[in-house]
């Protein structure tokens, strides 16, 4: 476990180094959610300020985190392949899963940039007031959202290790979560037959928890607590799946010898 934490910390540090070496990277990673959020700014122009804050501002943060976690993780893996470093890290005693975890987390947090941008625009130009009635509940829900996105990134790590064309899937995967997690609208607007997709996505619940946390007394609100619980539960399930898939993937790669292909 000590070694795992060391690997995790190293991956975090290394991803930060990588960001520092290419300062424009966060910007390019999140430009699409930023533009999508701007569209939402226009579509929400007549909405009450609170609705605006809960959907456009928070939603932009969620989209940014997801785009960045997804794009960052797939790009990191592509880079490892192109540079041939994956061949070396694969045969270190470090767990690929913990490396991916460190990476995912940094990428997801970087995505909060979109939230900052949209919040700034909203406050400066649109005069939107952001008030949070239960800061603790809010913070908890936000942290869980980051975790939820990071864990999905982790879950996809084995997929990125297997495929040579991860970037081709990026657009589909990013939009999948935009549609189904209810980032910019409540999932109740989705048709019934599409809603099951939403239910199995952890961020659906954590985002709902964030929205509930702006009401006073959220920590005692059973609805809030249920959403937090569901987020945790699904995150655990993803973690287990990620761990299982990683093992299968590594075994497969040692047979197929595909890891070195660019």
């Amino acid at each position: 476990m000590k070694h795992h934490l060391q690997v995790f910390r190293a991956a975090v540090r290394m991803t930060i180094w990588d960001y520092l070496a290419q300062p424009m990277w966060p910007f390019w990673l999140t430009i699409t959610p930023f533009a999508f959020a701007l569209v939402a700014v226009f579509l929400y122009r007549d909405a009450p300020p609170k609705t605006f804050a809960l959907y456009v501002v928070l939603g932009s943060g969620a989209m940014g985190m997801w785009a960045s976690a997804l794009g960052g993780c797939s790009f990191s893996m592509m880079q490892e392949r192109r540079w041939g470093t994956i061949v070396y890290t694969f045969t270190t005693p470090a767990s690929q899963l913990w490396i991916a975890a460190g990476r995912s987390l940094v990428h997801a947090v970087i995505g909060l940039m979109t939230l900052a941008e949209i919040a700034l625009i909203s406050v400066l130009f649109l005069g939107i007031q952001l008030t949070i009635a239960s800061p603790v509940a809010f913070l908890l829900a936000v942290l869980l959202t980051i975790l939820a996105f990071a864990v999905i990134g982790l879950f996809l790590n084995s997929f990125f290790m297997l495929t040579r064309s991860a970037s081709d899937w990026q657009n589909a995967l990013s939009r999948f979560l935009y549609v189904f997690c209810g980032v910019m609208y409540p999932i109740s607007v989705l048709p019934d037959w599409l809603r099951p997709f939403s239910y199995v996505l952890a961020p659906t619940w954590s985002l709902k928890a964030i929205r509930l946390s702006v009401e006073p007394g959220a920590l005692g609100n059973s609805d809030y607590l249920m959403n937090i619980g569901l987020t945790l539960l699904l995150t655990m399930v993803y973690l287990l799946l990620a761990w299982y898939l990683q093992g299968v993937t590594e075994h497969k790669l040692r047979i197929s010898a595909e890891l070195e292909r660019i």
């Binding site: 000590k2 070694h3 060391q6 690997v7 910390r9 190293a10 540090r13 290394m14 180094w17 990588d18 070496a21 290419q22 540079w83 041939g84 470093t85 061949v87 070396y88 890290t89 694969f90 045969t91 270190t92 005693p93 470090a94 490396i99 075994h251 040692r254 047979i255 197929s256 010898a257 890891l259």
Partner: protein, 324 residues
Amino acid sequence: MNVVQVQELTRIYTTTQGFLKQKKRDILAVDGVSFEVNQGELFGMLGPNGAGKTTTIKILTTLLLPTAGRALVMGHDISRESQAVRRQINVIYGGERGLYRRLTGQQNLLYTADLYGVEPPIAQKRVAELLELVGLDKRADERVENYSRGMAQRLHIARGLINDPSVIFMDEPTIGLDPEAAHFIRQRIKWLTGQGKTVFLTTHDLWEADQLCDRIAILKKGKIIALDTPRELRRLVGDVQVVEVETFGMPEEKRAGLEAALKTSFVSVATYGPKQTIAIQTQNPNEVTAQVQQLLKGVKVLNIRVREQSLEDVYLRLVQEDKS
């Protein structure tokens, strides 16, 4: 103690080609290889392109699984106890790939140290030492993308030693380096065995192998065709000497005639522009010299001499002998 134990190791690559009609093709890269490497030994593996050297290294370093057979490294099974193996080994593939190009040399080493679970205070110290060992201490804070090829390869040596491994696998570590850089790396390899490390080395540089290795395995089409000390390998092909003839503009039919007439000896011809160097391995150099002079009448002979056979002669003979 046997640091590496390999029994009947076999590896088949299956490749698929095409999309609509998928064609499967099996490539037998390593074919039932068995050998052992002892503690503190510098073990070399030679062989033509595609013989299976890199594949062997990839299996022993747990990057790939064998299709059949068994291998133990430091007493641990490479298939079932990969983690235990990984902790005690490291690998260096030739070339500059495998480094984080946007990070500095030092950052690369620190990151790798963490992946190997080296305690941070020890890692700090070791990184500084290793950078000095490979002569990169002055440029440790530069990004790897600005390194020359030789510098990148030197950084790889440092990276490969970061976990203080008991066994180090090196796949053509001096490939594409200028003589000075190659010399530098060879020195460091030699130094390693002085530290009690076991080194598994592949190379195409026979002189390098001759200089460095305690024992050499020659691999051909996935099979070991010879395994011994450089000295014994030379003896393996008999107590022979080499008659070396340098000619200018030798016609093709003369060459064929030469090979036919000297059937009992091993003849290899290397062409450099209009010049040819003919090397004839034989037990009776004097007789052959006379014979050659006779046969090459009318051809411009620049030089003719008798020398001891080198590892290269032995290698060529072993690898080419049964052209089956």
